[in-house]
Symmetry: C2
Subunit: 256 residues, 2 copies
């Protein structure tokens, strides 16, 4: 089994670059960090190119030494390539899904979708994907300006849900048009004079729900394309809800 201990190793430099969108695009790969994500990928039959593992973690799963695509790495290399402060010491190098000529082909539009418009916090994004999975949504669309699907912190906070539903990067306006072409409504989440209380909505079996930027909300262009804007009534004195909390309340409230 190959062992790599040096931060100067060319492979190590390549893995480190997978922390950036540019690096992931150039190499056509991304990194899954930690046992939970690696196990979820295996369960989901995601093809793992290479498994990177420290001696300490390998000792817990000695059968892994039998596999050809396993590389033992030092703790130092593990810390270097991880985006976490205390990595577990196991990583899977995975191929990026091939960019489809049409990202909107083969979408399951029979169930709801969550649309992320310029959402910035990786933890919020990952949590929203996990919540969309739990709520039974078909997929999550990452709109222009939203943090990349395969950003390490996004991957980590999705906690395996990235393998349970459809995730696409797309212009959200085009996806909204697809929903409208099938007579399915798209709801915004921006408070305005015409906004409706979310509990007063009788949502159909499939719809789109757009969550906007943490500070600035949804883009005006997208707002103009929604069928209705929904608000969550605030009873106390909090100025607003965290975007992931609001998304959770809306998803579970609309799709029971």
């Amino acid at each position: 089994m190959e062992k790599i201990n040096s931060l100067q190793n060319a492979h190590v430099k390549g893995w480190k670059k997978l922390q950036t969108k540019k690096g992931r695009k150039q190499q056509g790969q991304y990194l899954l960090d930690g046992w939970h994500l690696v196990n979820e990928a295996v369960k989901a039959h995601v093809a793992i190119r290479t498994l990177l593992i420290t001696a300490k973690q390998l000792a817990t799963e000695p059968d892994l030494t039998q596999f050809p695509a396993v590389i033992e790495i030092s703790e130092e290399v593990a810390s270097h390539i991880s985006a976490t402060v205390t990595p577990q010491g196991v990583f899977a190098v995975v191929n990026l899904p091939k960019a489809a000529a049409d990202p909107l082909a083969n979408l399951d539009l029979t169930r709801p979708w969550l649309l992320l418009d310029n959402v910035q916090d990786p933890g919020n994004i990952g949590t929203m994907v996990r919540t969309a999975d739990a709520a039974g949504f078909a997929g999550v669309a990452f709109g222009t300006g939203t943090v990349d699907i395969h950003q390490p912190k996004v991957e980590r906070s999705m906690q395996g849900s990235q393998f349970h539903l459809q995730l696409i990067s797309t212009d959200l306006g085009e996806l909204v048009a697809r929903f409208h072409a099938e007579d399915k409504p798209v709801y915004g989440s921006e408070l305005n004079p015409e906004a409706a209380q979310y509990l007063d909505i009788d949502a159909p079996a499939s719809f789109g729900l757009i969550m906007g930027n943490e500070g600035n909300g949804m883009s005006d262009v997208l707002l103009a394309q929604t069928d209705k804007n929904l608000y969550i009534p605030i009873k106390g004195r909090a100025e607003s809800l965290n975007v992931a909390i609001a998304a959770g309340i809306l998803m579970f409230g609309l799709y029971r």
Copy 2:
């Protein structure tokens, strides 16, 4: 106006110690970090002992130089005493509320309470307090084992809601007994054979809702004292919901 530039200054050492529970207890003070929290404290008429501010921030609010209890600090001091990576450069030193002989005296039990049983993540805790505020809850009880109310990351993620509702540290069993003494139900959030779907519950105007530890759930002792355990139906393949998301769905679902 006093200026402090040295990390060796005794005041600086004291402020730094406010990051720990022990330091806060010894000094009877805690620190609010950033304009938003400082402004919320002023709005809530919280007595500010001392305002600490960098020259850069002072330039945006020059009138502050008139006040006696303002100290100009260097950027280095600001970084040292802040628990954030990029502090704004403004802090308020605030007295800890006096520990009441009976923390359960003077509680508003006419509206619901959120009870945190051994919750560990400061961001989750702060977000739950903010959400409880938005949902119109009367207060949040921090049970034994739960991270301290005045921990800097908890303070920050409460985003001002700490000044809008009652926050207490207490043995949760005693608070549950108080609810029961007034014939008000207390709901757990642990999946078990007798658990009820949260939407099937017709919650009264006041109740307790307990959220448990992120990994291990609620303690058995507390679980035995609940009137009902509630679950959120998971439709997809996510194993669980983030505790703050679950709390948001339950709070807004039960208290409309």
